[in-house]
Symmetry: C2
Subunit: 204 residues, 2 copies
């Protein structure tokens, strides 16, 4: 399948390099761009360049931010002694949208993955250790995905944090709220039974 | 789910406006851009702008081209009296990759769709009629998708072409090569039976 224009071919190649977009989708997107006014594509391009050149990483928690310090770290009402460790900013957004957390975050920027060549040195781990050395932290919450990479990262971080005597917690695993019991996988159901909690009438 | 940076938010909105990309995929792509060197994103943006500002539409067949006339229309070995009508350039590429067609194309740039508000006036139909008026065309092949929109467009074009007395053909419908009979839908199987062809040992 040969593309009849070198500019189209180049654009398709660039679009297909983005995560989750194959060559066929890239061609569909490129044809869509050709059909819409050139002004719209120029606007899209401008937004992408502005994103990577202007948006910053918060110097405290590595969350994406327009300022040096992100709105969460800058908020005096947030409990700075409680740090929730997450993989990327999508997790910050997911937890923020629950409206149940008043501590701060620490964005690792990935998970340890020998398969993908991601080592602890590639992640924002040293700045987390520094926080523990320099300020009073009462609790570190591991909120990483329950995958092999997430568990590896939890284990590595736990070893690193042990010497500080800080309380380390992790998100509870169990049956999702509103889901049917018999659809849960055995591992989740097993853990959920092991970690069963005292019943309460006020339970949410 | 609130995005903590207005540049990120703007970029996600722009990316999500592309076909086939939802808000979650857009965020994933934006975070990927933030992680890679800014130079790569600038290159991507440049390709997109070059595509929409430099790549042209062939003045004869409306295929995408870097020149005024696309390589197919410019090729003296192609039979200019045989015109294959397609929806967009992906179809040109698909037919070209079969290596079995030596005529030329006419790219409509869409299909008639009252649902999406696409009328005949939005498509490259007048230039097709002009070709028939100004030159000798022996055959027009309808190679549009077998959908409601495709059939509507076929019908509209057929009415328009009737007065020219040109031979109009359409792609054969039937069982796909290599597919199992019992997986074919009833409509396809039914048509395939109606339009059965004389058996030949040389049949490909």
């Amino acid at each position: 399948m040969e593309i009849p224009s070198k500019y189209l071919s180049k654009a398709v190649e660039e679009i297909a390099s983005l995560p989750g977009i194959g060559k066929k989708s890239a061609l569909r997107i490129a044809l869509h761009l050709l059909r819409q006014p050139a002004k719209d594509t120029e606007q899209l391009s401008k937004s992408l360049v502005e994103l990577v050149t202007i948006a910053k990483s918060c110097i405290i928690c590595h969350n994406v931010s327009d300022e040096e310090i992100c709105p969460i770290c800058a908020d005096s009402r947030r409990n700075k002694a409680q740090i929730c460790v997450v993989e990327d900013i999508r997790d910050v957004m997911a937890i923020e949208s629950t409206g149940t957390y008043s501590g701060v975050y620490h964005v690792l920027g990935g998970l340890i993955s020998p398969m993908e060549g991601i080592s602890p040195a590639d992640l924002n781990i040293s700045t987390l250790i520094k926080k523990l050395e320099e300020s009073t932290v009462s609790e570190v919450i591991f909120a990483l995905s329950p995958t092999l990479e997430g568990d590896t990262t939890n284990f590595y971080l736990f070893k690193k944090l042990q010497s500080f005597g800080v309380f380390v917690s992790t998100l509870s695993r169990g049956i999702a709220v509103g889901s049917e019991l018999h659809y849960a996988d055995e591992l989740t159901l097993g853990r959920s039974l092991q970690h069963r909690q005292p019943f309460s009438l006020q339970q949410k």
